[in-house]
């Protein structure tokens, strides 16, 4: 018997760690992995609420989130390859062409 709030707090902790990684890391691939971590934290909330409200829709949303994450990973990693080919770096501090 695990309290529902533990799942939600665990999800919040993982989401916070994902935000921290997104802000602190300097490697563009690691930043991308932090985004995946945030998506997974939200998925855990979805499944926990799906149990709580006895609705299968929560699990269906998780299914769609995973599909979108797969598409996002494919396109994002292709963009990273193009950026690396043009700039020879993965450090986001050196990628400042669009910085105001």
């Amino acid at each position: 018997m695990v309290p529902l709030s533990w799942y939600l707090v665990l999800s919040a902790v993982l989401f916070g760690l994902g935000v921290a990684g997104f802000l602190f890391k300097r490697n563009i691939i690691t930043i991308f992995m932090s985004i995946e971590l945030m998506l997974n934290a939200v998925n855990l909330s979805f499944v926990a609420f799906s149990y709580y409200w006895r609705q299968i829709a929560g699990q269906i949303f998780v299914f769609f989130v995973i599909v979108v994450a797969a598409a996002e990973a494919a396109v994002g990693l292709a963009i990273i390859i193009v950026v690396f080919r043009n700039r020879q770096t993965l450090n986001v501090d050196d990628l400042e062409a669009m910085k105001f």
């Binding site: 707090v9 993982l14 991308f32 855990l44 149990y51 699990q59 599909v67 990973a73 292709a78 390859i81």
Partner: protein, 164 residues
């Protein structure tokens, strides 16, 4: 029994997530993320979502993370160099993180503190229920995602193929 499983894999997930932040080499971060995904799959099983746990392992930990590791090795990514972080992030980052967590924890305990606990075995449905809902109520979003995947494939091929 399930509370021990929950605590073990919750601590494993948080530990791997912290390791993702601490490690400097992208490969180590990717392996830590695989640890997080695997422990989350066990938590999904504890919540009665077998199908989600299965695709978490197959699609996420299998396909997506292999893609990540493949790109890290293709680009020969080394350790990230330490740069001068902004002073604001260094001094305000972790206090703000703690404040955010305290806020979320407060809201969760106020609204769901008295919620009935998750009882292992008292689940509402199975993969069959999910499949019926997916192919009956959610069939249009399901078909639209196939278009999304097609666009993503074409985009990835175009981006990685040509000189841009």
């Amino acid at each position: 029994m399930d509370i021990f499983l929950f605590l073990t894999f919750a601590l494993l997930a948080v530990g791997c997530a912290i390791n993702l932040l601490v490690q400097r080499h992208p490969i180590s971060s990717a392996l830590s993320l695989i640890g997080v995904l695997g422990s989350l799959a066990v938590l999904y099983l504890l919540l009665g979502a077998e199908f989600i746990a299965a695709i978490q392992v197959i699609v996420y930990a299998g396909a997506i993370m292999v893609l990540f590791v493949f790109v890290i090795m293709l680009l020969n990514a080394g350790e990230e160099e330490r740069t001068k972080r902004s002073r604001l992030a260094r001094f305000l980052g972790f206090p703000l993180f703690a404040v955010l967590l305290a806020q979320i924890g407060h809201v969760v305990y106020r609204h769901f503190g008295a919620a009935p606990p998750v009882e292992f075995g008292r689940f509402m449905g199975s993969t069959e229920t999910l499949g019926r809902a997916l192919f009956r109520d959610y069939v249009l979003p399901f078909e639209v995602t196939s278009v999304l995947i097609l666009v993503a494939i074409v985009g990835a091929v175009v981006l990685a193929h040509k000189e841009i």
